[in-house]
């Protein structure tokens, strides 16, 4: 039985970390694993995280698809694909699951074969595909530090305007209550936490809307810089999967 919370943002982030961690360990091994083993391991990891994986020889226009609902998440890939291609499809669908914070009860995503992408895709869907490409590559390379923190974890910023105003007001009160800046050598914890939240949010917004930032963000040096800055602002180091 699959847990019904498997599609919650926190759980999907954990699934992405688990898959990326497995792939990183495989790449670090002295003896390279064969493609079948890698595909099998990725499937097992996803299934252990609550995502049902299946394949079918019947798909023609699709390489695979994802359906997620309160009754679980399911990925179906074409069994005609080579194992490394199947792994790429799993990674891409997982990236979509990370990016789509679906407000309703149901979502679906499709991976189309080359030349079969329909013309009815909206600009937002095409943009999400470009962003998912980058996230999927980060998963396949085992380098999730190359994507913004809030892709993998729920962002604390409320979406509705009046809730956002309330949140900002609370943060401002916490900062003011902790003491004024000139009297301290180091910014207060609430101020650092607020700065960190804003920086992560800005990083996420740029990641979505700027191709240049996506290219920059995935560079190892940039990932290290972001990690160092977050550490200076008091963020605990993330555990490697």
């Amino acid at each position: 039985m699959y847990p019904e919370h498997v599609t919650s943002p926190l759980y999907v982030g954990a699934a992405a970390n688990a898959v990326a961690g497995q792939l990183r360990r495989l790449m670090a091994d002295a003896t390279p694993a064969n493609a079948d083993t890698v595909a099998w391991l990725v499937r097992r990891t996803l299934e252990e995280m609550g995502v049902r994986c299946g394949d079918t020889p019947k798909l023609q226009d699709l390489k695979g698809f994802l359906i997620a609902s309160p009754h679980g998440a399911e990925m179906v890939v074409s069994s005609e694909l080579a194992p490394n291609q199947q792994v790429a499809v799993y990674a891409h669908l997982l990236a979509h699951l990370l990016l789509d914070r679906f407000g309703g009860s149901f979502m679906s995503k499709f991976e189309y074969c080359e030349g079969r992408i329909p013309s009815h895709l909206t600009a937002a869907e095409r943009r999400e595909d470009l962003v998912a490409d980058v996230v999927a590559l980060a998963i396949l390379e085992g380098r999730l530090e190359a994507v913004p923190r809030y892709v993998l974890a729920p962002e604390p910023l409320p979406r509705r305007p009046h809730e956002l105003r309330l949140w900002l007001t609370e943060q401002a009160r916490a900062v003011l209550a902790s003491g004024s800046l000139p009297q301290r050598l180091r910014p207060s914890r609430p101020l650092r936490a607020l700065a960190l939240t804003v920086l992560h949010w800005l990083s996420l917004a740029l990641f979505w809307h700027s191709r240049s930032y996506r290219r920059l963000r995935t560079r190892p040096l940039m990932a290290q810089l972001v990690h160092r800055l977050a550490g200076l602002l008091g963020e605990p180091a993330a555990r490697a999967a």
Binding site: R52, Q60, D61, I67, H71, G72, G104, S105, F106, P118
Partner: protein
């Protein structure tokens, strides 16, 4: 033939014409033959003549939730007012909001442009989610 309660028989007799009308409305412009074929792809056994008898209110056995959902799914009419009316009439309820059902229909409509085998695979998976089943339950 299994025995049915008199109350069930009486109730079904009273509503089967209206059920048939709703299903006819859901089918819209789709042919009965096409609907029969689509339902068979999903694992149902409804011939064209059975579909005709259902729509005319001539079927003695009450229709199951699975058949009603399969019918609406094949007709891309899960969010249609007639389907909501139909479920209320027979006393069934799906655990989905109107918005979700509309998204299901949109998905099915967009998906009609892809190859038939792909459509069949997706429709089967969607059906389980609609009915609240997990694949391993089947």
């Amino acid at each position: 033939m299994s025995e049915r309660d008199e109350v069930q028989v009486a109730r079904w007799s009273a509503i089967r014409s209206r059920v048939g009308s709703c299903l006819r409305e859901l089918r819209g412009g789709y042919s009965q033959a096409k609907l029969s074929g689509d339902l068979e792809d999903l694992g149902y056994h409804l011939t064209q003549s059975t579909i005709s008898r259902i729509e005319q209110g001539q079927v003695e056995q009450p229709l199951s939730l699975e058949r009603l959902v399969g019918w609406a799914l094949c007709c891309q009419a899960l969010s249609a007012p007639a389907f909501k009316q139909l479920l209320q009439l027979v006393g069934f309820r799906l655990p989905w909001s109107d918005e979700d059902l509309r998204r299901f229909d949109d998905l099915l409509r967009h998906y009609r442009r892809l190859a038939i085998p792909d459509q069949i695979v997706l429709r089967r998976k969607l059906l389980w989610h609609l009915l609240g089943l997990r694949a391993e339950d089947v």
